[in-house]
């Protein structure tokens, strides 16, 4: 199969940061017309490898080759000229610019030295059509939900008509339909002879889409082989170096339910006239296409955005909390999706992040006890297997560990209702399993967990009930018996109206 020279390759590259080796002697070769999967847990060195391939970082040892020739000094500019496009996991879009402007940024078509807007619109429009992005091109990107922004990011890469396309977890914030569009598109690009490097934590996607796989573990390459004859369990074994076991904990029927939150005709943001009961001891899933108002439902209940309701009871108190401190006092806790922007204080130490909800609710002028704080934080770190010095800033942690910190900070307050917004997005398999276990245990302890997720298998295997949201309304409430990926997706897309007695 390997007869032509790879379009882009790394040969025995190594890289360390501040003396910590991140990559050791890793090789990878991207062949035209092949979708190459790059797997590994968070912190395994995937992002570093991409940065080396795209010239954002320079290797300490080893070489980068383009078309079989060693590039002595790989730079982002050179990579662009060589037709290498990267879709970053951290979105690199400018919120106040329009879709078209973002797509063309840095490569605007010029006419008489000025930006040729009609030409830009035409070319950006073509790229948008490829990814199924139908919003007006003049929409500011900041107005788009996360999933659509991701599509803009992909369109931006396609605008440059790349020969090598590198996608870093492109589907982590996409809905099922958007994922389908993307996989079809990648399939087509592949048949046109483009080399694709695909990074994802969703193994079923990798199994269906990719032909070849490179697995990284702790900065070394543990597998470089075709995907033929492997299965998902085999891949997980390669990534974690041991048998995966079941990703999801066994589902067990929960205690007889009592409502902890019950709202009638609840409206917040995009959500309109929602009737919802959340029961103690259950894991309630919220599904649907991305950006249908699910997030507003959580934020409204949490008091973070204005919300209205005909009647509401939250933990015995009538009426909505109407403010985050009030919601916290009523035992609600919220873990946001965008942990860098909404969940963590990246420049502050891990310990300060963990203690923040405590600072928020203690009397303002009460003297702090650093010793007690350290003890609490150590306990949380041990409980959630967060390793290392707690005085490091939170940005030093990998994505999965950051998510654990975002969860951990609520644990000392023993919340009765945990509102989670896509807690496993961009999180490696091992951390996912830990988070699932935690949520199940939490529900088993008689608390309520509301899990908003863009990962449908998660909803099916983990939740007791799933509310499917479409266009600001709950269009279906699926009980355990009726739960399946098909049921959720069809309700989300309005394929059929299914209502199961809640």
């Amino acid at each position: 199969m390997v007869t032509r020279a790879p379009l882009l390759a790394a040969r025995g590259v190594s890289k360390s940061f501040f003396g910590n080796p991140v990559l050791r002697d890793v090789s990878i070769a991207l062949q035209p017309g092949r979708v190459h999967a790059l797997l590994g847990e968070n912190g395994a060195g995937k992002s570093t490898l991409i940065n080396l391939l795209s010239g954002a970082l320079r290797p300490d040892g080893g070489t980068i080759e383009v078309d079989g020739y060693t590039v002595s000094r790989m730079t982002p500019t050179y990579a662009r000229q060589a037709g290498i496009a990267v879709v970053q996991q951290e979105l690199s879009l400018t919120a106040s610019l329009s879709i078209a402007e973002n797509i063309g940024l840095g490569a605007y078509p010029k006419r008489f030295g000025l930006i040729d807007y009609p030409e830009l619109a035409a070319r950006a429009g073509a790229a948008c059509d490829l990814v199924g992005l139908h919003e007006p091109l003049s929409t500011p990107v900041g107005h788009l939900p996360l999933g659509r922004r991701q599509m803009v990011e992909i369109a931006k890469a396609l605008y440059r008509t790349p020969r090598v396309l590198i996608l870093d977890e492109p589907t982590s914030s996409l809905s099922a339909t958007e994922t389908k569009i993307l996989t079809d598109l990648l399939e087509r690009l592949r048949s046109e002879g483009i080399a694709i490097l695909y990074i994802s934590h969703r193994l079923n996607e990798v199994m269906t889409l990719c032909q070849h796989v490179t697995v990284l573990k702790d900065g070394t390459c543990t597998a470089d082989r075709t995907l033929e004859g492997t299965d998902a369990a085999g891949l997980v074994r390669l990534m974690v170096g041991r048998d995966p076991g079941d990703l999801f904990p066994r589902w067990q029927p929960s205690a007889p339910p009592a409502d902890v939150i019950s709202v009638r005709k609840f409206s917040a943001g995009l959500m309109r006239d929602v009737d919802l009961d959340i029961r103690a001891g259950e894991l309630l899933g919220i599904g649907g296409l991305v950006g249908q108002g699910q997030e507003d439902l959580l934020l409204g209940l949490y008091g973070a955005i204005p919300a209205g309701t005909a009647s509401a009871t939250v933990n015995g108190a009538s009426g909505l909390p109407g403010g985050v401190p009030k919601a916290n006092a009523l035992g609600l806790a919220y873990v946001p999706a965008d942990r860098k922007r909404e969940g963590l204080h990246l420049i502050h130490p891990i310990i300060a992040n963990m203690m923040l909800p405590a600072f928020a609710r203690l009397p303002a002028l009460k003297l702090r006890s650093r010793r007690a704080e350290r003890e609490t934080a150590r306990g949380l770190a041990a409980q959630l297997a967060i390793k290392g010095d707690l005085d490091r800033p939170a940005q030093a942690l990998s994505g999965g560990n950051q998510q654990k910190v975002a969860l951990a900070k609520w644990m000392p307050h023993d919340p009765l209702v945990l509102l989670l917004n896509d807690p496993t997005r961009g999180v490696d398999v091992e951390t996912k399993r830990e988070i699932y276990m935690m949520l199940r245990n939490f529900a088993a302890a008689g608390k309520a967990v509301v899990l908003l997720s863009s990962d449908t298998p998660e909803l099916v295997h983990l939740c007791d009930r799933v509310a499917v949201v479409r266009e600001g309304r709950i269009v279906a409430m699926l009980d355990r018996g009726a739960l399946s990926e098909e049921a959720i997706v069809s309700a989300a897309m309005g394929a059929e109206q299914r209502k199961v007695a809640a």
Binding site: A304, V324, P325, R341, L346, L356, A358, K366
Partner: protein, 323 residues
Amino acid sequence: MTAWKDSAYGRRALTILRSRPFLTVAIVAAVWIAASFASRGFGAYGHLRYLVELGAVIGLVAAGQTFVVIAGGIDLSVAAIVTVSAVSLPLLSWQADPTGVTGILAVLVLTTAIGLVNGLGVALLRVHPMIMTLAMATFLQGLLIIIAGGSAVTAENPVVRWLGNARPAGIPAGVLLWVLVSVIVLTTMHATSFGARIFAMGANSLAAALSGVPVTSTTLAVYGISGFTSGLAGVLVLGMNGQGYVGIGDPYLLASIAAVVLGGTSILGGLGTYAGTIPGAILLVTITALITVVNASPGWRSVMFGSLILGLLLLSGREQARR
């Protein structure tokens, strides 16, 4: 066991040595030593004591400014508030209270209220702090001209006079006041939950709000504190000066922000300490004193002051890149 303790203390000592407040202290010490050799009389105890006394005014204004900047804002009305305090105190001194304490309290309530209005605009009306406080400053200056006009007003307040001139145990009362305020500020900033909330708000106010930090009331408090300390600085400046006039607070706007930044507090918010602002304030008065020694016209003095602040910031105060 002892070895572990030793190394922990060792690491701690190293952290302090590498910290920005310490760097600022080192710069002050270096400048003092160099200037003592270059200029006779600079290093005399009386002169250095005088410098610290001048630094107290900047230090008080910069105390509130440090809170505001750490919380992610900026207060451009501090100079106007200093003037409000120094001008209105003589007008507010009534005969019924010979000690003059009520007058001072009334002025401090007034300046704190001005700060709270700033906070209201920033927190509730969502006006950008720069615009809100700049508008407030302009408003106050206009009001002062209407009320006080161009004439200087003399204070007949015994407490104010004591504050500006007394030296219990050889230490100027203003410096004692500064020490007291510093202790309270440092405790509030680093040893209370309120302080922790301010840092969280400055680093990421959205994440802070979602973690339950009462952002509105904390913002109000921060600007209120800034109004209070500016008011206190106004009282002190009136005491040292004997007279209040419109424009008396003007030097303290740039000085307060420069002291904060020179002390290593990030102008972007979320990182910093008043422990750096203190040497920052002393460094600023030292520079001013050095420039005065050089015989130059006021225009050139201003040019030199501005350039030196920029130079010092290049030396020590550049922001580190944030992701």
